[in-house]
Amino acid sequence: MTGDTLRRLGELALEGLPGPRLPGIVLDILVRESHAAGGLLLRAGTVVARQGTAGTEPAGDEGAIELLPGPEPWHLRLVGGPAPEDGALAAARLALRMWELGTALREARLGERLRLWELDAIRTLASSIVGILDPETLGTELTTSLVMLMGVRRAELLVGGTPEGARRVAVFGRPPSDGTDAAAAWREGITTDRLLARPLATSSETLGLVLVADKEARTGSQPFSEDDQRLLELFAVQAAVALENARLYRASLEKERLDRELAVAAEVQAYLQPPEFPEMAGYRIATFRRPARFVAGDCFTVSPRAGGVEVMLADVSGKGVGAGLLAASLQSGARLLAGLDEPLAETAGRLGRTLHETTEPHQFATAVLVRCGEDGRVTFVNAGHPPAFVLRGDLRIEQVDSTGLPLGLLPESAWTERTLILRPGDRIVLYTDGLTEAEDASGEELGIGNLAQIVAAAAREEGEVLCAAVVERVERHTGGRPFTDDVTVVVIERTPAG
């Protein structure tokens, strides 16, 4: 053996990270050292390097020199030459062992970097999902990450609570969901060698399904590992969070839009019911309104007329926007009809018919219509509304009870009119059932009798102060809890000038 051979093999062994060509170089040195015509270097029976005339030699380690023992033993087969000297073989063993260690180290580093890549992808997805609001973008991000990290040929994201209602938002390759047991996948996921499916689940519902199929090996494909399952589950959690975020954000936008619309509706309704009224000879109007929601089902109209005024206070069945729209319609009708100067009972009839024809059968309105004349003559029609109070100057209270059914309850209905004389200083107090049905802590409603006492107790106040005093006293009854229904008070006062 030449010193040169030993030196070259030693240098190979001592290289920091021997390259992939090292086995070939070792074989080349050994073939030259033995003056052989060629040779094979085998690892676990597989040819790792060929040299010279050994190109046609069959693989396998039978009859070969064992270079390194172990689970994947190394063998040398030389063609047409003696075995190398022990020193050369020992140097070759050292070089190959170092090559093995270097390879193992590289693979370990590669594995470590792959874990880092996974973490980075998850972190990137987690940080970017805050801004992802559409499932398609999320799906593309997710499937791309899965294809890259897991080395799969196919990936897919479906969004929806059930297989039947699901929609494909991203797919790479042929859809993995084709031909799978959709119900099982949605329920608990699927784990096979070739397919993984995981539901995108929150604590309360399933938002979709992520699937991957056909994991690649260096050549062909390989079964999914437990690490693959763990990785897909991590991604499924991230995707579920992203979808939930997007859903909540959309819901928040929708609520914001509705709130804006309701605020506009409330503004329009407030405009239709101004807090102040023009000067009217003989009468003064004061009002108080507090909707239980943005838009109230209570409404009133004040229509000045020659020497007097016509007032309607109504309470539409239901609450919220629907009731508010109906109230606005009723207001418009009352205003138009106030100018016709027809009997008040006929006005009620027209309003009732229109309401019945244009609304659902269960919708109606209670209303009290009051026409105050120049001479103090006051006509009432009370369509199923709580009694109006007439507060005399000497603080006595009279009641004007219902004179017919609520408006719109039946296609045709009749109301009687009630007439009385209002003297200067006398007042009419109209209100809605938000006051009489206000409950105390034990659930007891205030009732008409108690409200009458409250009105009597506050009778020394005037105008808006009287309205507020009545409401304040009712609030004492509720113990300060907010009213659950709309509350409206209208006070019509006959002034001395009249």
């Binding site: 390259g19 992939p20 890259m148 080395g151 050549t219």
Partner: protein, 121 residues
């Protein structure tokens, strides 16, 4: 989004640089075809190889490992491996996987060829 059949194109430009145009998705098959196309042009001791990734959107873990092996082979031959037109996602991947540690990355082909001492034919 679909996986395309990989068909890499390789040529040696003046200056002896082998330029390989990679396909949409670098996986096991496409990666091996890339490596084979590159190795077919290893005509000298110090090969210089430039991968143009302008058409590449995705590279998977096996594709990366094939490129790392090729990189190791080239470094073993005292050669140079470089990339150009790399998407931000793939650049990040190369950074994490250690490819960028040993390979050179250029924004475009012209810059790469100039830096590597070659030019488009």
């Amino acid at each position: 989004m679909t996986a395309e059949k990989p068909t890499p194109r390789a040529e040696v430009v003046p200056g002896g640089i082998t330029v390989v145009e990679a396909t949409d998705y670098i996986n096991n098959e496409a990666g091996q075809l890339l490596a084979d196309a590159a190795k077919a042009h290893f005509g000298r001791e110090r090969p210089v190889l430039l991968f143009d990734l302008s058409a590449t959107r995705i590279i998977n873990s096996i594709g990366v490992s094939i490129l790392l092996e090729l990189l190791e082979d080239i470094l073993d031959r005292k050669g140079t491996m470089a990339f150009c037109n790399v998407s931000p996602t793939i650049a990040r991947t190369f950074d994490i996987m250690g490819v960028a540690q040993y390979a050179r990355i250029f924004p475009d082909r012209a810059t790469a060829l100039e830096a590597l001492g070659g030019h488009d034919g």
